[in-house]
């Protein structure tokens, strides 16, 4: 009985924002703009990644990137390059690096750093000390990007 509730507790934890297993934003190691190991130690879920990609309060990647895979969605932005075939152009580790902190790969980019929680100026209080996406959400987005292949 004791054991069972312990396991249930762990399950609840890992569904939450940050699990103890996650590599925290400050501890992330970049290797030429790439991050080699998963931030959660696990592979992400591409379906969740697609939702985060279009959600205006999460990734909102569609604000800046066209994505033919989401043709049914209105209003694709054109600030960044179209992401069609991006899963062929970049490796998993590079995509993880670009999503976590694009400035490591593209120093002066307008693209936000989605897994960084310090170094911002005048952040709104409710976002203070927080990253835009959790480690799990970054992994989900990376898993989704890897499905975008040149057909």
């Amino acid at each position: 009985m004791k054991r069972l509730s312990l396991i249930a507790g762990i399950a609840v934890l890992s569904a939450g924002i940050a699990s103890a297993e996650d590599v925290m934003p400050a501890k992330v190691m970049f290797d030429d703009g790439a991050i080699n190991a998963s931030l959660t130690g696990m592979t992400g879920n591409p379906e969740e990644g697609a939702k985060i990609f279009m959600n205006r309060k999460l990734g909102n990647c569609l604000a800046c990137h066209m994505n033919a895979d989401m043709e049914e969605q209105p209003f694709h932005g054109e600030v960044g390059p179209a992401l069609d075939g991006v899963g062929d152009r970049w490796s998993e580790a590079e995509l993880r690096g670009i999503v976590s902190n694009s400035k490591e790969m593209f120093p002066d980019t307008i693209m936000p750093s989605f897994y960084r929680d310090t170094g911002f100026t005048r952040s709104l209080e409710k976002f203070e000390g927080k990253s835009i996406l959790s480690a799990q959400q970054v992994e989900d987005v990376v898993a989704y990007l890897l499905t975008l292949k040149e057909s």
């Binding site: 205006r56 909102n60 569609l62 604000a63 800046c64 209105p74 209003f75 694709h76 932005g77 054109e78 600030v79 307008i110 936000p112 750093s113 911002f120 100026t121 005048r122 952040s123 709104l124 209080e125 976002f127 927080k130 835009i132």
Partner: protein
């Protein structure tokens, strides 16, 4: 018969001319043509041509600005004209008690903000100075309804005149401060005004067509909230969108930013009251 047909034809042409809008459309109201595209002022380092925000709006939004009867702003300007003649404060005076005609303010908006005795002064500051110092009335809230409408009415008197804000002499330190703010990244999204309005004007950002973020049309009517919006109100909105804590309306930071941004539009026509989405 012939001449009649011909003149009907011309009338139809003129009509369709007036109603047509678009990226290369001409902004003209009552036959007065506005400068919506001009060579960038010399102090701009990264931009060759400046454009009014009107150029980037949809045909439908553009058209609302082509005819004052269609422009929803004028309801608010009429209200401001009533306020102009309304007595307020301990001195028993209205604006009209001292100022003959609001038309006398032609040429004011195009040169503001400006420096007086070492202080940067906006149109809002000038109006509130009259209220508190000369009428014995309460200051209006910086972007409140009364102030937005009154500053729009006063700015409207400069419509068609070229923006011409001074940036040298006394104004230089404020210009430098505003410029620094314009290029400083802020908020959790870590962006500067320049990232959107200098590097990406003309591009779609989700459903929005990015303009150069010019202020020549302010105060202006927005379809989004169906009221007159001020420059500082817009700055605040843009900062919140990038998850940054906005500076306060009327703060030294926003006043310096207003001076700098206004000077980036030197050469464009004042459009107040413009219409935006």
């Amino acid at each position: 018969m012939r001449t009649l047909l011909a003149s009907v034809g011309i009338a139809a042409l003129a009509l369709s001319g007036a109603a047509s809008a678009g990226e290369d459309a001409v902004l003209s109201v009552d036959g007065e043509v506005f400068v919506t595209e001009a060579a960038a002022p010399d102090h701009l380092e990264n931009v060759d041509t400046i454009y009014s925000g009107w150029v980037f709006r949809t045909d439908e939004t553009q058209e609302l600005q082509l005819d004052d009867f269609d422009n929803p702003s004028f309801i608010f300007l009429d209200q401001a004209l009533d306020t102009w003649e309304t007595v307020d404060g301990s001195e028993g005076k209205s604006c009209a008690s001292c100022h003959d005609d609001v038309e006398d303010f032609a040429g004011l908006k195009s040169t503001l903000p400006r420096v007086e005795n070492g202080e940067l002064v906006t149109l809002t500051n000038l109006v509130n100075e009259c209220r508190t110092e000369r009428m014995g009335a309460e200051a209006w809230k910086y972007s409140g309804a009364d102030m937005s409408a009154m500053t729009a009415l006063i700015a409207h008197q400069s419509r068609g005149m070229a923006m011409s804000v001074a940036i040298d002499g006394d104004a230089a330190p404020f210009f430098e401060k505003g410029k620094e703010l314009y290029y400083t990244r802020v908020g959790q999204l870590d962006m500067a005004c320049a990232n959107c309005h200098e590097d990406n004007y003309g591009n779609m950002i989700r459903a929005d067509h990015l303009s150069q973020g010019q202020t020549n049309g302010f105060p202006l009517y927005r379809l989004k909230n169906a009221k007159i919006n001020t420059t500082h109100g817009r700055f605040k909105g843009c900062m919140s969108n990038i998850r940054a804590t906005p500076f306060k309306e009327g703060s030294p930071e926003f006043k310096a930013l207003e001076l700098y941004v206004a000077s980036r539009g030197n050469g464009l026509s004042v459009e107040t009251p413009a219409v935006r989405n």
